[in-house]
């Protein structure tokens, strides 16, 4: 069983946004793969990121740290990270550490795309 699966594709709702599906778990071991994905996206100048956590079973402080590590660079480039489809368990972790204020968290991809439209 694979521990983490990160899939990147452009949003069908708005192709300007990139959707990153994270499946599995984000702990100190698996964060490396997500970090690499973010680095690649930044290189490719894709800064409007929708992170779909529907199939994320677990996240630790290391996982949260990955998002925190790139958020400034992404926002500096007029982009953002919007998180979607968080399970209650995952949301609680974000909330516990105050990350629910640092990141935009919405229910669906549609809502996320709308957030980007608002920002424009």
């Amino acid at each position: 069983m694979k521990k983490i699966n990160v899939k990147v594709h452009s949003s069908e709702i708005n192709p300007e946004c990139t959707v990153v599906d994270v499946e599995g778990f984000l702990d100190a071991y698996t964060v490396a793969e997500l970090e690499e994905t973010f680095n690649n996206l930044i290189k490719e100048k894709k800064f409007k990121l929708i992170i779909n956590l529907a199939k994320l079973d677990y996240i630790s402080s290391a996982g949260l740290g990955t998002f925190m590590g790139v958020i400034d660079e992404i926002r500096d480039n007029n982009g953002d990270i919007v998180l979607t489809n968080l399970s209650p368990k995952i949301y609680k972790v974000f909330d516990l550490l105050g990350f629910s204020e640092l990141f935009q968290i919405v229910e669906t991809e549609t809502a996320a795309v709308a957030k980007f439209a608002e920002a424009n």
């Binding site: 521990k3 702990d27 100190a28 677990y58 402080s61 949260l64 550490l97």
Partner: protein, 417 residues
Amino acid sequence: MNKLIIKSCQTKTCTKVLLVHMENTLDETLVSQLDPVWTLLMKNQARHLILDFQTMEHYTPFGLGLLIGLINSLPLHISDLWVAHCSQKLKQDLQKYDPKFFNKVHETSDEDLVGLLPLKIHSLVDHFTLLLNSSDVISGQPFTLRIEAKDQYDSLLPEYTGIPHLMASRGMISPTLLPQMQNGVWEGKVIVSGPGLVTLRVWDDLIEGQHAMTVREEGEKISFPFSIQCPGCGKSNVVSKADVTRCVTCNYIYFVDLRGHVIPLKPGLPQADGFLRQLNFKIPSDINYLNLVRNFIVGIAREEKINEEQISQIEMALDEALANVVEHAYAYDSFQDVEINIRLHPEDMEIIITDQGRAFNSDKTPLPNLKEHIEQRRVGGLGRYLMKTLMDEVEYRRLHHTNELRMLKRFSSRSES
């Protein structure tokens, strides 16, 4: 009179400490009394040895030389040797005899000694004795067993508070894990299945004992399939052969023998003072293992019907703690060991994580200010914050070369099955 007083102690982490008080004169006769101490160390029944010289008045060069020789002959796995309350002269002489002495042996001050010793000190326990209330033991029928902790002179040691395991050489036995001994004794009902010649064995971290008996069968053999009442829920179960079975209704595990006797294999309702369960294992200091440990603790917690929210909290706290050990204690060296000790009580779960890495934690460091951390985009320290928030108690101590982190989670209502 020359005396050697040997005390065996157990600290919170079940680390065995041998404290040896030397009295009067250290000469060759006193040193020869150290033999049982060395035997215990060799059998790996103690990890730490403290030689306390406070009440030693004199020593002969020969005695000292012999002692140093003994210390040098210890196997490498005895990593923790201490001397306490050495006079200046003694220290000088030890160094004179063996210039490398204080490379292998630490010296402890009063404070350290107090910190190392647990609240209770036991004399040198030697074995368990087993006593049955009757010589006629019938398969599947309870009899009274009395277990006593004794010293080498077969005297009862009322200060002893071990947690014994029970085993039978043949057939089934229940219970297999006893609650903590009181006043050096445990007495209670036991059931064995045998049949025939059965040796009962009692053992714990330090000592053991055994007793041979004949288990008689009584009653007619039944024919299978056979319907019995589950000892847990009372519902009927059909058993197809003499075997260990699990109740289809409540998952209670029991053994049915050839005569239809039902022997419960769970120890029954936990007693207030005992552990429900203790789990102890070591993992490599490799972040690849975090996931496996998380799965394990979640599995155990679900078995114990702890509510899901609390399971998630325990899972996360344990993960953060282990990640910290790998990163800070071992600097990502994945070839070291991390020891995990889980003690499950009826009201709470205690997790103790021990490693031999660098000191990296302190109860004295204040908890990170979340706001600042996030503003400064700092991840480090979030783990500690999480642990303190998710668990009811978090304590850290540094014991010589060991980091010990203890976390406790008190259960809110457990889910009904």
